[in-house]
Amino acid sequence: MSDPTVIQRLVADVARQIRLRRAEFYGLRGLFWGAVAAVVPLLLKETLGPWSYALAGLLLLAGAAAGAAWGLLLSLPPAEAARLADRGYGLQERISTALEWADRRDRTPIVDALVTDAAARAGQVGVRRIIPRRLPREAKLVPVPLVLGLVLAAAPPIPLPQGRLPSFSVSRDEDEEKTPGDRSGDVQQSERKQATRRDPVQRTDVQERTLSPRLGGGGQSQPGDLAAVFKDTSLGGRAPDFNSFLKKGDERLRMLDSLDRLPDLQSDFTQNQTRMVFQKAKALRGGLDPNKKVSPEKLRELLSEMERLGRKNGGQGQGNWSGDAYEGMEALEGGQSDKAMEAMERALNKMRSMEERGRDGKGLKGGRESERRGARRGDKGAGQQGGGPGDEGDFPEGEGLLPGRGKSGAPKGDPTARLRGSPFDVGVEGESRPGRKQGIDTNMVGRGAQMPSRMQYMGVLGQYRKMMEESIAREQVPRDFQSQVKEYFQSLDEK
C-alpha cells in the first residue's frame, strides 16, 4: 500500500485554504458590526473626550478580529476538506474515497490500488487556490459606518441636550410659587382630584342601597344565583315603569295583542299548510263558548286563508274547497255568521278528505295504491293532475328525482303508452302554461308539473356537487382540471 501522506498533505492544504476563506468571510462581517459599534463612542466624543477615538478604534479592530477568529476556529472535518479537494482539483472523489476507505476494516483489495492512484494524482496536481473567495452581504455596507465614523471623528463634538427632565411630582412649594393667573386651572384640577376621591364613597352608597331590599326580600344570594350579578347596579333596585312602556307603544305589545292570529304560513315551511289551517279552525270552533259568538275578524281571516290554499292547490270540482271558503266569506260580509260557519265546515270536510287521500301514498301499500291514485288522477283531467296536500312530503329536497329513491308521481312504463294516455306537454321550469299543449309528454306530467322543478334541480345539484368534490379529493385530478370542473358547477349554480 502506498503512503497516503500525500493525500493527507493535500487535504491539509485545502483545509488551510478553507480556514483562510472563512476568516476573510467572518472577519468582514465582524468588521462591519465593529464599525457600527465604533460610531457610538464617536457620538459621545464630548463626554468621553480623547478616549472616544481609542474606544472606536478598539471596537473596530475587535469586531474584525473576533470575526476572523471565529472563521479560523470553526470546525472542519477532513472529509469535507477532501470533498472540496476532489471538486477543486477535478479528482472525481478519489481523495475523499481513499481517505475514507484507507482505514476501514472491510476494505476490499482494490482500495490499495485506489489509495495508490489517489496519491499519485494528488502528487501531480499543483498546489493552487481552489476555494473561491466569498463575501458576506455586510461587506458591501462596511464603508457606510466607516465613513460615518470618520466624519464624526473629524467633526466637532456634538453637544448633548442640557437640562433636567420634567418632574411629574408636584410639591407644595412649587404650587405656591405659581402666579395667581394659573390658579383657575389648579382649582379645576383640585376639584377633579376631589371628585375622583369622592367617587368610591358614592359607589359604596349605591351598593348599600341596592343590596338592602334584595337581602330583605330574598335573603342571602346563593352560589350560582344569576340575580347576584345585578346587585351592584342601581337598576337592580328599581321597579319597572310599565306606564312609560305602554306610552311608547312598544312593538311587543302589539304582538301580544295579536296572539291568536294565524301564523305566517308562507314562511313556515316546516308545517303542512292545510294541516295548520285545519287545526286552527278546529281550535276556533271547539274552544268557544256555544253562547258566545265567533269573532268575525278571526273567521274572516281563517276563511281567506282557506280560500287562498284552495286556489293554490288549483283544484276544480269535488275536491276543491276554495269555493266554499269564498261563499263563507261572502256570507260573513252579509252578516250571516251561521252560513259562514256552515261553509267553513264544508270546506274543512273537503280538506280532510283530500288530506286522507294524499296520505295513501305515504303508507306501505306501495305501487298498487299509487297506480290507483294515478288512474284516478287521470280521470280528473288536466286540471286535476296535482296531488293532494299531503303530496308535498313525497319529495324531500334533493332526493325526489334521484333514480331509485323517493316516490315519483310521474307515470311509468312504456313511454309510447304514456304519450297516448296523456298527450299534454308541460313546461319543465315553473308551472305549466295554460291551455292545451302540443308536443311530447315528459316525466313532469303529474305532481312534478305542479312543483317548481328548480327546487328539485337545486337539490340534486347539491348532491352531485358533493360527489364531484369527493371525486376530486379521491382521484388525482390535475389542479387546472379541478378548477375547470368547479367553475362548471359554479356556472350551474348561477343559472
Binding site: 475523499s96 476507505w101 482494490i110 489509495v115 390535475p478
Partner: protein
C-alpha cells in the same frame, strides 16, 4: 473461482484488464452498430453489473441487431424469443414431455425452453400476455425456473435483453411494474444523427463482409462482475444515491416539488442498487477505482426512468420522465450537502 491477488499492482492489473475487455467488446459491437454510443455503453454496463436491460425504441433503429451483435461478440449461447399474444409460458421455460428409453419404458423428461441460454433476446416483450411475460420473472430474478416442482438453474451469466416499441400500443400488454422493476436499466434507443445515418447507409447497402470476433467468455464476464462489486464508494456519494432514489418518492418529506406534483410511486430499493452498481461499472470502465458523483449522474436516467410512475397530473401534462429524473438528481445534489457553501459551515 480462484482468490484474487491482493497486491496493489495486481489490482491495477485487474482493472486494466477490465478496461481492455470493455473496450474490445465495445469495438466489436461498433463494427456492426453505428452510433448509439450511450445505448451500447449502458447495455454493456448492464451486462457487467449483472442485471437485465429493457430497450425501448421505434422499429428499425437496430435494437435487435445490437443485441445479436453483442451476443456474437461473447462466447455465450444466445436465444431469441419473438413475443406474440399466443405465446405461452411453456414456450419460454420448457415443458415435460414423455420419452421412451431403450427398454421401451416411458417417462417424463424436461425439455428446456429458449430461456436456457446465456443471452436471451425477448423481442417485443410487450406483445405477449402478462401471464407469459411473468414466466420470465423468476428466471430474471432468481436465475432459475421451476417446472412441475423441480427447479432448473439457468446458465450463468444469464442476461435478458428485452425490446419494446413505445408507439404501437394497440394489441400490446404493457409490462407490469413488478416486471419492469426486474430490469436493471431501461435504455431508450433514439433516432440516429445525420452522420450516423449516412454511415448506416454506407455500411448496409454495399457488399461488405464484417466479421465479429468473440472477445469475452462466460467466466470472464463473471470475474468482471465480481470486480465491480469490490469498487469502493465514498459515503457522501452513497448518500447522494439514497437522496436521488428517495427524491422520487412524493411521500418523502424532503422530496422536491416536481416529484410531489407529478409522481405517484417512486423507485424501489432495486433502483438504488441499479444506480450504484451501474456507477461502479462505469467507474471501472473509465479505469477508476472509485465511484464518482458523475457516475451517479450518468446512471440515474437508465436506472430510474422505468421505476417512476407518474400520477394523472403528470400524464395529463405530458411530463417527460427523463426531465423529471434530471430535476430530481439536481435537487438531490443540493440536498446532500455537496453545495459550494460547504466551507462556510
Amino acid at each position: 473461482m480462484a482468490q484474487p491477488p491482493v497486491s496493489s499492482e495486481s489490482q491495477e492489473q485487474r482493472v486494466r484488464e477490465f478496461v481492455d475487455a470493455y473496450q474490445s467488446l465495445r469495438a466489436e459491437v461498433g463494427k456492426i452498430i453505428v452510433g448509439h454510443t450511450d445505448v451500447v455503453g449502458q447495455i454493456m454496463i448492464g451486462l457487467f453489473a449483472g442485471g437485465h436491460v429493457l430497450l425501448e425504441g421505434v422499429p428499425g433503429l437496430g435494437k435487435t441487431l445490437l443485441v445479436k451483435t453483442l451476443a456474437e461478440s461473447l462466447e455465450l449461447s444466445f436465444s431469441r424469443i419473438q413475443f406474440t399474444p399466443d405465446l405461452m409460458p411453456g414456450d419460454i421455460i420448457g415443458t415435460n414431455i414423455i420419452v421412451e428409453d431403450a427398454q421401451g419404458r416411458k417417462h417424463f423428461q424436461f425439455q428446456r425452453g429458449p430461456i436456457f441460454g446465456h443471452i436471451l433476446l425477448a423481442d417485443e416483450v410487450n406483445r405477449a400476455t402478462p401471464k407469459t411475460q411473468s414466466a420470465l420473472l423468476e428466471g430474471m430474478q432468481e436465475g432459475a425456473v421451476t417446472v412441475s416442482g423441480a427447479a432448473h438453474p439457468l446458465p450463468a451469466p444469464f442476461f435478458v435483453l428485452a425490446t419494446q416499441n413505445p408507439i404501437e400500443m394497440e394489441g400490446t400488454y404493457p409490462l407490469p411494474e413488478a416486471q419492469l422493476d426486474r430490469f436493471l436499466f431501461k435504455v431508450r434507443v433514439r433516432y440516429p444523427a445525420l452522420e450516423e445515418l449516412t454511415e448506416i447507409i454506407d455500411r448496409t447497402t454495399h457488399v461488405r463482409a464484417v466479421e465479429v470476433r468473440r472477445v469475452l467468455t462466460g467466466p470472464q464476464v463473471l470475474s468482471m462482475r465480481e470486480l465491480v462489486r469490490e469498487i469502493p464508494i465514498a459515503s457522501h456519494v452513497r448518500d447522494l444515491a439514497s437522496f436521488i432514489v428517495l427524491g422520487t418518492h412524493p411521500q418523502w418529506e424532503r422530496a422536491p416539488e416536481v416529484s410531489r406534483r407529478y409522481v405517484r410511486y417512486g423507485a424501489s430499493p432495486r433502483g438504488a442498487q441499479a444506480l450504484v452498481l451501474g456507477a461502479k461499472v462505469r467507474a471501472l470502465a473509465e479505469g477508476r477505482f472509485n465511484v464518482s458523483v458523475d457516475d451517479l449522474r450518468a446512471m440515474a436516467l437508465p436506472s430510474l426512468r422505468h421505476r417512476l410512475i407518474l400520477n394523472f397530473e403528470g400524464e395529463a401534462a405530458g411530463v417527460d420522465v427523463d426531465d423529471l429524473v434530471s430535476q430530481i438528481v439536481e435537487s438531490a445534489e443540493a440536498m446532500s450537502g455537496s453545495g459550494k457553501e460547504v466551507f462556510l459551515r
